[in-house]
Every structure is written in C-alpha cells, then in structure tokens.
C-alpha cells in the first residue's frame, strides 16, 4: 500500500474535529473522576477499582481515537493483540509467587506474633 493510498483511506474513515474534542472532554472528566474518587473514598478497594477502570477507559479512548486504532484495526490487530496478551500475561504469571505467597507468609507471621503476644 502506498502512502497516497493510505492518505485517501484516512480521509474516508478518520475521526473529525468534534470527535477529538469529545474524547478530550471525556479524558478530562476521567482524570477528575479519578482524583475525586481518591479524595472522597481514600485508598481502598473501591477507589482502586474505580481509578484503574477509569485509567483503562482513558487509555482505550486515546488508543482507539487519537491513535486511529479503531480505523486501522483491520491492519494492526495482528501486532496489537499479541503484545496486549503478552503484557497482561507477564504480570499475571508473576503474581502467584511474588504477591500471593508473600501475603500468605505475612499472615502466618502476624498470626504467630499475635499468639505469642508480640
């Protein structure tokens, strides 16, 4: 595919000015929502899930609209999907040993400390 053909394609299917402004407003609202969730809910499970869900939503908006992934998906899915799967897997495979085991170990130590009165 030549550069000229690509430009013609983008002209047919690219987002318009209004879409960009709408995404910008959504990103600002998302940032405000995260900030307010932290301010009013503090650091806890509820605020964690709200804030991370908003972060994923914002990242998806930027990737899909600003990076034109929505319009180039048919040509880029073979690059984007494998790396997304690898990125998520990399964290998931590390969690059981590094996080779950330590938590389990600390719970055991704290229980032992409480039973001995320290």
């Amino acid at each position: 595919m030549t550069d000229l053909e690509h430009k013609e394609h983008a002209a047919d299917h690219g987002p318009n000015f209004q879409t960009y402004i709408a995404v910008f407003i959504a990103l600002c609202v998302g940032t405000g929502l995260s900030f307010l969730a932290n301010l009013f809910l503090g650091q806890g499970a509820a605020s964690f899930w709200i804030i991370m869900a908003v972060a994923v939503f914002k990242a998806t908006l930027v990737a899909m609209i600003f990076m034109h992934l929505k319009f180039d998906w048919g040509r880029l899915y073979c690059i984007v999907i494998p790396v997304s799967v690898m990125a998520v897997m990399m964290m998931i495979v590390l969690l059981p040993d590094s996080v779950f085991y330590w938590h389990h170990l600390h719970r055991q130590q704290e229980t032992a400390a409480e039973s001995t009165g320290h």
């Binding site: 000015f17 990242a59 600003f66 040509r75 990399m90 996080v99 330590w102 938590h103």
Partner: protein, 307 residues
C-alpha cells in the same frame, strides 16, 4: 477497502503474492517500535505492582503519597497537561490533512509548550524529592539496631542546621527541644521516639511506634507544624518506592524529552519554510509516539499518586 483490492488480480508490475501488512512502511515501523515500548513499560509497571502488593503489610505499609512528598493535584495537573498536548498534536495532524499548514504549525508549537510545562512540573517534583532526601538508598526504613543510631545522629545534624539557618521556622521551639532531648551523646531518646517527635503521633506507622511515648494525642510533630523543614523520618519500603518512582517517571520523562526534540525539529523545518502537507505522515507518526507517552502517564498517575 484494502482487503477488497487485494482480492483482485495484481497489476503485472507487482508481485502476485502480496506480503506484509498493508500499511506505509513508516507507520508499520512506528507500531513495531511502540510494541517494544509497551513491553518495556509493562515490565516497569508490572514490577512496581508486584513490589507494591508483595511485602508491605498493615504494620509495615507501602509509603503513601503524603509520606514521600507527592501532591495528588500536581499529578492530576500534569495529566491534564499531557491530555491537552495529545489533543493539540492530533489537531495538528487533522489541520495538515485539511491542508491548513499554518494552523498545524501553531498546534505543534502549543504541543511543544505543553510538553515543556510537563517537564518543568516534573523537575519541581524531583527537586522536592532531592531536598527531602527521598532518594534510593538515602531513606531510613528501619529504626532498630545500628540503623536507628545512624538515624538519630543524622537527625541531630539536621536539627542543628535548622537552628542555624531557619531560626524563624514555626517549629523552631520544638526543634530546639528535640535537639536538647537527644543530647550530646545521642542517647536521650530512642530512634522511634525521635521519629515520633518529627512526624507526630498520628502519622507514625505501627512498626515504628515507640514502646513508651511522651507525646499526647493533641501534640503535633515538627513536620506537621512546618512541613517545609528538611528532616528525615522513617518510611518503610521508602528506598524501594524511590527506586520505582525514579525508574518509572525518569524513563517516562526521557520519552517526553524525545518527543519534544522531534517537535522542535518540525518547528525548525517550518521556520525554514520546508514544512508542508507532504509531512502529514511524519506528523501522524510523531503523534502516535506522543499518544503512547500519554497512555503511559495515564497509568503512572493513578499508580503513583492515587492508589
């Protein structure tokens, strides 16, 4: 559209077997580069999440933003700045697409300015970390044994400096009192008692609570009275936090700087009259990179400042 084209017989001068992804070479190269970048930042963020959720416990928790002099609204402001810059760069591409070169140059200029604002704010944040010694290897994480003795000597030297250089501090009375109580032999108070005097009884972590406290519920720590004083205090996992913070935000800031260099080159081209609609793909590729930098910050901001 492209798939439909490929189904038809190829012209004689083209190979009949169409190989590769139907994208301009530059765009394909940029996406392959971004894929490696995704894995790089995933590794950094992944390691941070694992460390953050691994060893810390209720008694010995991970540092809060307050503990390490991070201000949430400053992080939110920087997020807003990067979002604005993402909008301006995409509008620059859109302007060039609609043949409006002057407006595209203007948007690129605004993007460059916003990127500079981001780095300036980050520089102020880094300066605060240096001033308060929130640096890898410089934070007191434990107050037992030889670390505790070293902590008391370090604090005594800092108190002396405050007395000499900040005599008008709101907490000067408490500073003098603490220095007297520590004494010449540094044995007047235990390290945990010194730490409690500095941060106040409400901010002491469970693992740092002294066996015997001389402070009441109404007493305030020196840093509660005057937060700007440069006094060390115990931050469990502080060194690990600082390593993660500087690694993640440092690499991100380097990427921002790289983007600013490209925007500067574009503006120099425009200044010399060499920039035009034929640079549309270049702006699109630069924009892809800049949006990726924005996405990384979208995750760094909540992870470091909020959760």
């Amino acid at each position: 559209m492209e798939h439909a084209k490929l189904e038809h017989p190829a012209p004689e001068h083209e190979s009949k077997a169409h190989m590769g992804i139907p994208l301009p070479n530059g765009k394909l190269a940029m996406w392959l580069f971004l894929v490696t970048e995704i894995m790089f930042f995933t590794a950094l963020i992944g390691v941070y999440i694992i460390i953050r959720n691994g060893q810390p416990t209720v008694r010995q928790p991970w540092p809060t933003p307050h503990d390490v002099h991070l201000v949430e609204w400053i992080g939110a402001f920087n997020t807003f700045v990067l979002i604005c810059s993402s909008l301006t760069v995409v509008l620059a591409h859109w302007s060039l697409h609609t043949k409006n070169v002057r407006r595209a140059i203007l948007y690129i200029g605004v993007t460059l300015a916003l990127g500079c604002v981001f780095l300036v704010v980050k520089a102020f944040e880094y300066n605060s970390k240096f001033a308060h010694e929130i640096l890898p290897g410089r934070i007191f994480e434990k107050l037992d044994g030889p670390y505790g003795a070293k902590f008391v000597r370090h604090v005594a030297a800092q108190l002396q400096e405050i007395e000499e250089h900040h005599p008008n501090s709101k907490a000067i009375g408490q500073v003098k009192k603490l220095r007297e109580e520590i004494g010449e032999t540094f044995s007047g108070l235990s390290p945990k008692q010194v730490n409690e005097r500095i941060v106040g009884p409400h901010h002491v972590k469970d693992c740092d609570k002294p066996e015997r406290s001389f402070m009441t519920e109404n007493d305030k720590g020196i840093l509660e009275i005057d937060p700007d004083l440069h006094l060390s205090y115990s931050i469990p996992f502080g060194n690990m936090w600082a390593s993660c913070y500087f690694a993640m935000t440092g690499f991100h800031a380097l990427h921002v700087f790289g983007g600013l260099v490209v925007f500067t080159v574009i503006l120099v081209l425009a200044w010399r009259g060499l920039f035009g609609v034929h640079h549309e793909l270049m702006i699109e590729l630069t924009g892809l990179y800049w949006h990726f930098v924005d996405i990384v910050w979208i995750f760094l901001f909540p992870l470091l400042y909020l959760v």
